[in-house]
């Protein structure tokens, strides 16, 4: 993983000029990466400046103008109580873009620390924690998260904590195997011979070398965090009912699809899909560049 420019094995032969380029320049040459970043940037701007960009007040109800099809006045139509769907889609980016990344960061930080300890220290701790992790992983994650949210209630903080904790063993497992590969290498034996403390070896020597793995894992998990947050909102466990939220809007409107009023459901759904595809494009490009 550390060797970004590994010798090409007959496929996708790199020119000498390309090999000199740093990783971020290689990334910018990939249309999939640039496309993904543009999609993400669009939603981040919506999340931050949503209320200023939205053409209408996302909360204003016009009961006489309910369930109106997309038109020049309301590009995405209006929902069952006459709110502007386009404005709700724009402002709705905020909640999911706060909860999902924070949950992923929590899971990544905890998972990295745990994975470093398990992979480097090994021994009894590794065996014990490994058993617990296996037991947790044996349960379908969605069911476990669902149960916790049902039990603890569905505030933003609960969702961040529950998703973060469930992700921790998953990320730890990936980091652990990357650390075990590193542990075989010479630089670590020399660090150990020099008498470095375990903490220093783990965080100063190993961590920088497994960072690419962690970065890729982070983008993959971020996609799943968005999946989970959106799904919980769709199932009626949305965060803060007073602000627009894609999953909750779908939950409120999918019942009238059969009657032909599809726009209040379809557009938030497409927003979720585009956000996840954007993250995948970015994550996949990073993985490709790091793999050489």
């Amino acid at each position: 993983m550390t060797e970004i420019i590994s010798a090409p094995t007959g496929l996708a032969v790199a020119t000498p000029e390309q090999r000199e380029l740093p990783a971020w320049r290689l990334l910018l040459r990939r249309p999939t990466f640039v496309g993904g970043v543009l999609i993400l940037a669009f939603w981040v701007v919506c999340a931050i400046f949503g209320n200023a960009i939205a053409p209408h007040d996302p909360l204003a109800q016009q009961l006489l103008l309910n369930n109106k099809a997309p038109s020049s006045a309301h590009w995405f139509g209006t929902d069952q109580i006459g709110r502007d769907v386009l404005s709700r889609v724009i402002v709705g980016a905020r909640t999911i873009l706060i909860v999902a990344p924070l949950a992923t960061i929590l899971g990544t930080v905890l998972g990295t620390a745990l994975g470093l300890a398990l992979g480097y220290l090994g021994g009894l701790l590794d065996t014990l924690v490994g058993r617990v992790v296996e037991a947790v992983l044996a349960l379908p994650a969605v069911i476990v998260i669902f149960l916790f949210i049902v039990a603890l209630g569905s505030s933003a903080v609960t969702q961040i904590l529950v998703i973060g904790f469930i992700f921790t063993p998953l990320i730890a497992r990936t980091v652990r195997s990357a650390v075990q590969v590193e542990s075989q290498l010479d630089y670590l034996s020399s660090a150990r011979l020099l008498g470095d403390r375990a903490g220093r070896v783990m965080f100063v020597e190993i961590l920088p070398n497994v960072l690419p793995t962690i970065l890729v894992e982070f983008t993959v998990r971020l996609g799943y965090a968005i999946f989970t947050v959106a799904t919980l909102a769709f199932l009626g466990f949305g965060v803060n009912a007073s602000t627009p939220n894609w999953g909750s809007d779908i939950n409120a409107n999918y019942g009238v699809i059969g009657a032909g009023y599809w726009w209040a459901t379809l557009f938030p759904a497409l927003a979720i899909a585009s956000l996840i595809i954007g993250i995948n494009l970015v994550g996949d490009s990073i993985e490709q560049v790091l793999a050489g």
Binding site: L11, A12, T32, E134, A135, A138, L139, P140, A141, V142, I143, V144, F146, L147, F148, V150, A151, L152, G153, G223, Y224, I226, F227, A230, T231, F234, L235, G236, I250, Y254, I257, G258, G260, W262, T265, L266, A269, L270, I272, A273, I276, I277, I279, N280, L281, D284
Partner: protein, 317 residues
């Protein structure tokens, strides 16, 4: 093999016991008491108290857990608060319905996912590989209700070729039932395609780069023969394992898909039970899913060992 199986089964039982604890105590911290939930806000406090006493929910937690778990071990899954009758018949019919949906999804997706993965592997690094891999990754991370809504709007509302809800009604013919299941199955297929194709691709690439594949090529065998006889046999093993582990995701997906399409399966049963605080139903439903999941993973392990001679002999030793 027998020793290994026993170890796996005992581990599964421990996991199920952990799940039972989790489910039970998660149910207990749910806000609101069951008597109130059943009788509604207007009922007198005395009536609520009496009902709570009849249901046994006013006893200490450990006593309740013990009554519940020993009942389960005797085949008694409890009585639903919501319907005031035994949980088991509801669960059984929901399980059959979900099995139909899941089976149809697997029948379509397993060949399709493997085909996609093998094609991507044979074209590794070329545009077709990138397209298959990226589509698979995106399809598997887009929530089921999102792809579900897209297909409902296209095929159910605009083209009007397929029914929007999933229940064909009592006694419908096989063909009609199948027609009603097409739309709900699509989101499940989307999610599973990515996982299965990715595993099949990785396995095939590994097998293609192996010594035995090179030997076969150097022997002068045609590429198609090398792929069919030497590569595929080895590359599809890990795929079998991943298909079994995906039953977990499949079950999670069922909760969402069955809610969206109003399909009377186990996912919707759990969802409804959670919403109406019907603990016995919720607990029995989640545990049933746990059991199904454990059986699927153990079966997959056994299948993998049986198909892989190296593991098989390793076990005997």
């Amino acid at each position: 093999m027998v020793g290994y199986l026993l170890r796996r089964i005992s581990l599964a039982i421990v996991t199920l016991w952990l799940l039972s604890l989790l489910v039970f105590f998660a149910g207990q911290v749910l806000p609101g008491d069951p008597g109130r939930a059943i009788l509604g806000n207007l009922a007198a406090q005395r009536a609520v108290k009496t009902l709570d006493h009849q249901l046994g929910v006013d006893r200490p937690l450990l006593t309740q857990y013990w009554t519940w778990i020993s009942g389960l071990l005797h085949g008694n899954m409890g009585v639903s608060y919501q319907y005031r009758s035994a949980v088991a018949p509801f669960l059984a019919s929901a399980l059959v319905n979900s099995a139909k949906l899941a089976l149809l999804a697997l029948i379509v997706i397993v060949p399709l996912g493997i085909l996609g993965g093998v094609i991507a592997a044979l074209q590794v690094g070329r545009p077709l590989d990138r397209i298959i891999s990226l589509t698979g990754l995106s399809a598997s991370t887009v929530p089921e209700f999102v792809s579900g809504i897209v297909v409902i709007v296209i095929f159910g509302v605009e083209l009007k070729v397929l029914p929007v809800t999933a229940s064909a009604g009592q006694g419908a013919s096989f063909g009609t039932q199948l027609r009603y299941l097409i739309l709900p199955v699509i989101p499940l297929i989307f999610v599973l395609f990515g996982y299965i194709a990715r595993m099949a691709r990785a396995g095939t690439i590994e097998a293609l780069e192996s010594d035995y594949a090179r030997t076969a090529t150097l022997k002068g065998l045609k590429r198609s023969v090398v792929v069919r006889r030497h590569v595929l046999r080895n590359s599809l093993l890990p795929t079998i394992t991943v298909i079994a582990t995906q039953t977990g995701y499949l079950i999670g997906g069922l909760v969402v898909v069955e809610t969206l399409f109003n399909y009377p399966g186990i996912g919707r049963l759990i969802y409804n039970a959670a919403q109406s605080k019907d603990f016995p139903m919720l607990e029995a439903g989640v545990l049933t899913i746990g059991v199904v999941y454990m059986i699927a993973t153990i079966l997959a392990d056994v299948l993998t060992i049986t198909l892989n001679p190296r593991l098989r002999t390793g076990m005997i030793r």
